[in-house]
């Protein structure tokens, strides 16, 4: 699903440049649930941004679903993002003046799907995350866990090849975190490929594979025995 070869990325900071990713080789197969771990400054968010086409790489290659991702202009990136990727952010990033169902149907709007169909699709995904009865509520009327579930429903609504989650539990308490991870595991069980960036050990252990980054290189990449989140909810 994802192949990354010899990935380098640096940021210019005035005169000096900060070398964040120093040659990463990394592959993810269809249906994997991968945790990317590392302390802050290890380059894990940068890696996720490049995977999410929110940022461009300096050197190396990135192939997603057999499509070589390069020379992205903004329009192309937007189309790829819409087609291939779903995003879940630490801070949810729901549009605050849109109701839950409107938020979920937004990526479908950008896919050019008709309104009625959009509504049905969106409701289906809200039902999947268990928030059907909250469909017409604004984000401000939802709890943190509910918001993240809406965000997950939104990310899944466009049927992405890969779901990218950047610290999805970072803003949630432990119980809610496990609930969210439970949902992510269930989505993964249906065959979806998911990457989770986290710095929390217990969250990482709920994935099937853990990749550890330190100072811009992968220091550890191992399969783990998955802890089932549902047992802790």
């Amino acid at each position: 699903m994802i192949q990354i070869k010899n990935l380098h990325k640096s940021y210019k900071m005035g005169n000096s440049s900060l070398h964040v990713l120093k040659g990463i080789d990394f592959e993810v197969q269809q249906g994997e649930l991968v945790a990317i771990m590392g302390s802050s400054g290890s380059g894990k968010s940068t890696l996720l941004n490049i995977l999410g086409m929110l940022d461009v790489l300096d050197e190396g290659s990135y192939t997603l679903d057999d499509v070589l991702i390069k020379d992205l202009d903004e329009t192309k990136a937007a189309k790829y993002r819409n087609k291939f990727l779903g995003f879940v952010f630490q801070s949810f990033n729901l549009i605050n003046y849109k109701t839950a169902i409107e938020n979920v149907s937004l990526p479908l709007y950008y896919q050019g799907i008709a309104r009625k169909e959009r509504q049905e699709e969106a409701l289906k995904y809200l039902t999947m995350v268990g928030l059907a009865e909250w469909a017409t509520h604004l984000p401000s009327e939802l709890s943190g866990g509910q918001k993240q579930r809406v965000a997950i429903a939104r990310a899944m609504a466009s049927k992405p090849k890969v779901l990218l989650a950047d610290e999805p539990t970072g803003a949630l308490d432990t119980t809610t975190s496990y609930e969210v991870m439970d949902l992510i595991q269930k989505i993964n069980e249906e065959g979806n490929t998911i990457l989770v960036v986290t710095h929390e050990e217990d969250i990482a252990k709920m994935c099937k594979r853990i990749v550890k980054l330190k100072d811009g290189v992968i220091v550890e990449d191992k399969k783990v025995k998955q802890v089932i989140a549902a047992n802790y909810v």
Partner: protein, 409 residues
């Protein structure tokens, strides 16, 4: 542009961001409103000015007779020159190319009496063309005509205020009044935009006036109009030729500055028009200034709106919005809001102008108005600049990487 889905998205956004919508709409409406009010007042000022100075016909030349100051062809200096009926006929005959109309004017003050009411008024013995020269407006009855001149009828056309003074509320038309010691029949009542003084005149046929004065044929003043298409310079040529002709006829030294005097209204017209042009310039300047202030206002609001939406736009981009769709959304929304509120401001402005217009006459503003073309043009300009002002930050926002937009939390 016309996809129903996109409109729905825009209406959603507008409905759910009422304050923002109100702010940008209000700025535009206010800009247009102030523009219309100020521009309208400027036009009112111009109207008032025109009424003050441009009341009479502006293509007229008035001829006065005076005393000569040089001896010529055996005549001594200091000789009194007088016009008579033959001069009228001669001018008519010799200057058909220049002349539009000609009329004598014999002014006499007279005591006028009706029943127990009486007062002193200025009477003017005139020809029918005098009505055009003074822009006299008939309220009732008719003006003096050629037949009256021919028959030397004792008919009088009286000013509105004369009728008011003598007849109070009663109908003056057809009544008989005494002017001096003769009885005249009132055949018409007029009004004049030139003010009260002009509405206290009494017009009678000049031949009747001559008949009353021992049947002479003297005329004090000659009022004539040149064809308007001659313009100011043409009128000066006419004036020069006329002066030569009359000096020759009356045996006045060609170099004598006195004897005959001319008052060419075209000169006054020219001055007044220059003044009117300055007023127009001021009005335009005020309008332009207001419009620019409006443009700056809407630009500020648009920049603010886009700034406020940076995060939202980042989310939209992460979900697959292309830069083009982001720009389009912002533009469509801003143009929609500015158009609606622009026209609201337009109509309120025109309405207010219409309703307070009359009460401003005391402040030298008469009939303030704004022509539709100017008003629409201003509205469209504001909408256009609202669009441009929205486009620039929208374009920048569309170029921001979603990661940057989403970062600050």
């Amino acid at each position: 542009m016309f996809s129903r889905d996109r409109w729905q998205e825009i209406f959603d956004t507008i409905r759910k961001n009422k304050l923002r919508t109100f702010l940008s709409g209000f700025t535009v409406a206010l800009g247009i409103f102030i523009f219309i009010i100020l521009f309208g007042f400027g036009n009112g000022l111009k109207n008032q000015f025109q009424e003050f100075f441009l009341d009479d016909a502006t293509n007229t030349i008035t001829l006065f007779a005076g005393k000569t100051s040089m001896p010529y062809q055996g005549f001594k200096s200091n000789r009194r020159i007088e016009f008579d009926n033959s001069d009228l006929a001669d001018i008519k005959e010799n200057f058909p190319f220049f002349l539009e109309y000609i009329t004598p004017r014999i002014s006499r003050s007279a005591s006028v009496k009706y029943k127990n009411e009486f007062d002193n008024y200025s009477t003017r013995g005139v020809g029918p063309a005098h009505q055009f020269a003074e822009k006299t407006i008939m309220m009732k009855g008719r003006y003096i005509n050629e037949k009256d001149i021919e028959n030397k009828t004792k008919y009088a056309v009286i000013g509105r205020l004369v009728a008011q003074d003598l007849f109070n509320q009663g109908d003056a038309l057809g009544q008989f009044i005494e002017i001096g010691n003769s009885v005249f029949k009132v055949i018409g009542i007029f009004q004049d935009d030139g003010g009260d003084r002009e509405e206290r005149y009494i017009y009678i046929p000049y031949t009747t006036r001559q008949l009353l004065e021992k049947s002479n044929d003297k005329v004090d003043q000659i009022v004539l109009a040149f064809k308007p298409q001659l313009g100011h310079s043409g009128s000066l040529v006419f004036e020069r030729k006329l002066r030569e002709f009359l000096k020759k006829k009356k045996s006045i030294a060609p170099k004598d500055p006195n004897g005959i005097f001319f008052r060419n209204r075209a000169d006054i017209l020219k001055q007044n028009q220059q003044f009117a042009n300055v007023l127009q310039l001021i009005v335009t300047f005020v309008g332009l200034g207001t419009l620019i202030a409006g443009i700056i206002g809407i630009s500020n609001i648009m920049v603010f709106v886009v700034k406020e939406r940076t995060k939202e736009l980042g989310i939209r981009k992460a979900l697959g919005a292309t830069p083009k769709s982001v720009i389009q959304m912002i533009l469509q929304e801003s143009v929609f809001i500015t158009t609606i509120s622009g026209y609201v401001g337009l109509f309120i402005g025109i309405f207010v102008l219409k309703s307070i217009g009359v009460s401003l006459q005391d402040y030298f503003i008469k009939d303030p108005y704004i022509d539709t073309t100017t008003a629409l043009f201003a509205t469209i300009i504001l909408i256009l600049f609202g669009g441009i002002a929205g486009y620039i930050p929208a374009k920048r926002a569309a170029r921001i990487k979603p990661i940057v937009a989403l970062r600050d939390e």
